[in-house]
Amino acid sequence: MPPLIRLDEVCKSFGALKVIDRLSLALGEGEALGILGPNGAGKSTMFNLITGDLRPSAGRIHFAGRDITDLPAHRRCRLGVGRSYQIPHPFGGMSVFENLLVAAAFGTGRKEAACYGRCVEVLERTRLMPKANVAAGRLTLLERKRLELARALATGPKALLLDEIAGGLTESECQELIATIREIHADGVSIIWIEHVVHALLAVVGRLVVINFGREIAQGAPDAVMADPAVQEIYLGIEAA
């Protein structure tokens, strides 16, 4: 079986700035993969390349064995790529429920009425039910981040790409989030999670990839990767920041 997501020697430059530098990476079917790396390493840019928000300068991207490098973002979503944005992009004038509804209807290609049930489920799973009818533009930053997760989930993804959703949570909120993501993973959704909150990441993922200057500098079992001297150097850098 081919990996669900595969990046082959992908590059991305903004003008003279090379942000992703011949990066190769694979996400196995059913895998939960964690991404670590310092600020500006190119992690979010990698997500934007996978989702189609950005096009690579070179290299190919495959999803479930199919070359998706030239597909627009909405087609990739319909194939099963769901993502959250590091800086939340809520549909501010729509209610939280409507945010999920539009995602479910267009992400799965179903009729609106066929999506109500799924949206209620997602609201309950992400604990957003009390905010269901609140305009998303009125949510706090933490609630907006939870909405990012919920909306990505509503599209019915095969691969869920999460970009820093644990920052700023209290310890108990963080435990709740970990439990939620584990549940989603247990339901068969493959996950790539970019996170600076390392202990949350380690509670969920089975493998880690560390990125710096747009290149992979270490990957493998979390314990081994965290023990790697090159990673420890960066990791200490993150702790200090």
Binding site: G93, V120, A154
Partner: protein, 351 residues
């Protein structure tokens, strides 16, 4: 968990508004019995201004297509109507409908060109396209070239024999266009496609990430807006009985006023352009005797609204009250225990 939910789509205010709209519509149907020919003409102008405002609001307020070239389609619709009736000898009413279709059809290839431009360049591009159409039509000898042409008496008679009957027909056509556009926009926004439009309004980036084809939605909006402009052009120049390139493709008459209406009324809602239309025509009537002051006041008001209340007058009125006359939202309500209903949301844009 198998809790029972229902989706609520209207509010007390919206049901009251529906009743008010029905009453107003009945009153408008009866207007010809009381009003004179001048009143009817003004009513037609108000109706097609409302239609253009709703269309421009879809373009700029929802899909971010800030066009300053809608006069291209008003002009094309007007000229298509003259060509179909005068040159092709078709009866007026089918020609009118067809003129709208011609404008919408010509909008599609144009969209391929102007959609390559973004932001200010898109705005300028749409204006350039309108100028190109104006220059092209000025070259068409059979349609009167640069000086334009009048609608032959035979065509006018074909619509109705008496002047009164013609006024009546144009009035009802205008009413149909205005009300029809409001209803079209309302049902569009209430539909599944309306969810996509509203999502694009709030964030194009996120809309694409949840599977919405932004480009296709924009094409649809652009073509429908052109169709509405085309119908407006056909109707307006049927009423004026004369068309010329300068009048047909006037940026002031067909786009600037419309932008003013939408901006002061409130962009990104159905109610905004309606309120804007009322304010615009009220101001015009009030300031009719003051010449240049009329334009200065309009301009000052538009700038004030943009600076102080970017949500427009409707935003100022509706937001604190949570008002929504045209309910396009979906509220999730538990079936059996209304006291635990999730918090109410206020409509409109959140940020």
């Amino acid at each position: 968990m198998a809790a029972a939910w229902r989706i609520e789509r209207s509010t007390a205010a919206s049901r009251a508004a529906l009743f008010a709209v029905a009453l107003a519509f009945a009153a408008l149907l009866a207007l010809p019995a009381r009003g004179d020919s001048g009143d009817l003409r003004l009513a037609v102008e108000i109706c097609y201004s409302l239609a253009l405002a709703q269309a421009w609001n879809l373009l700029a307020g929802y899909t971010g297509l800030v066009s300053v070239g809608q006069q291209a389609y008003v002009g094309l619709g007007g000229y298509a109507f003259f060509a179909l009736t005068v040159l092709a000898g078709m009866p007026p009413l089918p020609s009118l409908a067809l003129a709208g279709l011609v404008a919408a059809a010509l909008a599609l290839p144009t969209a391929f060109v102007v959609f390559r431009l973004h932001g200010a360049y898109f705005a300028i591009g749409t204006w350039v396209v309108a100028e190109v159409f104006r220059l092209l039509l000025a070259q068409m000898r059979p349609l009167g070239g640069g000086t334009g042409m009048s609608l032959p008496v035979a065509v006018v008679r074909d619509l109705a024999q008496s002047r009164g009957a013609r006024d009546l027909i144009t009035y009802y056509l205008g009413l149909g266009l205005g009300l029809g556009t409001v209803l079209l926009v309302f049902f569009w926004l209430r539909s599944r496609q309306g969810l996509a439009l509203t999502a694009i309004r709030d964030s194009e980036t996120a809309a694409a990430s949840v599977g919405i084809d932004n480009r296709r939605t924009k094409f649809a909006v652009y073509a429908i807006a052109a169709g509405i402009a085309g119908l407006t052009g056909a109707l307006a120049f049927l009423e004026k009985l004369r068309i010329s390139p300068d009048a047909a493709f006037s940026v002031g008459d067909w786009t600037a006023n419309v932008i003013f209406i939408v901006v002061i009324g409130g962009i990104g809602s159905i109610e905004g352009p309606i309120l804007g239309t009322i304010v615009f025509f009220a101001l015009r009537a009030l300031l009719a005797d003051y010449g240049a002051w009329y334009l200065i006041t309009l301009g000052a008001l538009a700038v004030a609204v943009m600076l102080l209340a970017p949500q427009g007058l409707w935003g100022v009125v509706a937001r604190p009250l949570g008002l929504q006359f045209f309910p396009v939202q979906r509220r999730l309500r538990p079936l059996n225990s209304p006291q635990t209903a999730p918090e109410a949301a206020s409509p409109g844009r959140g940020d």
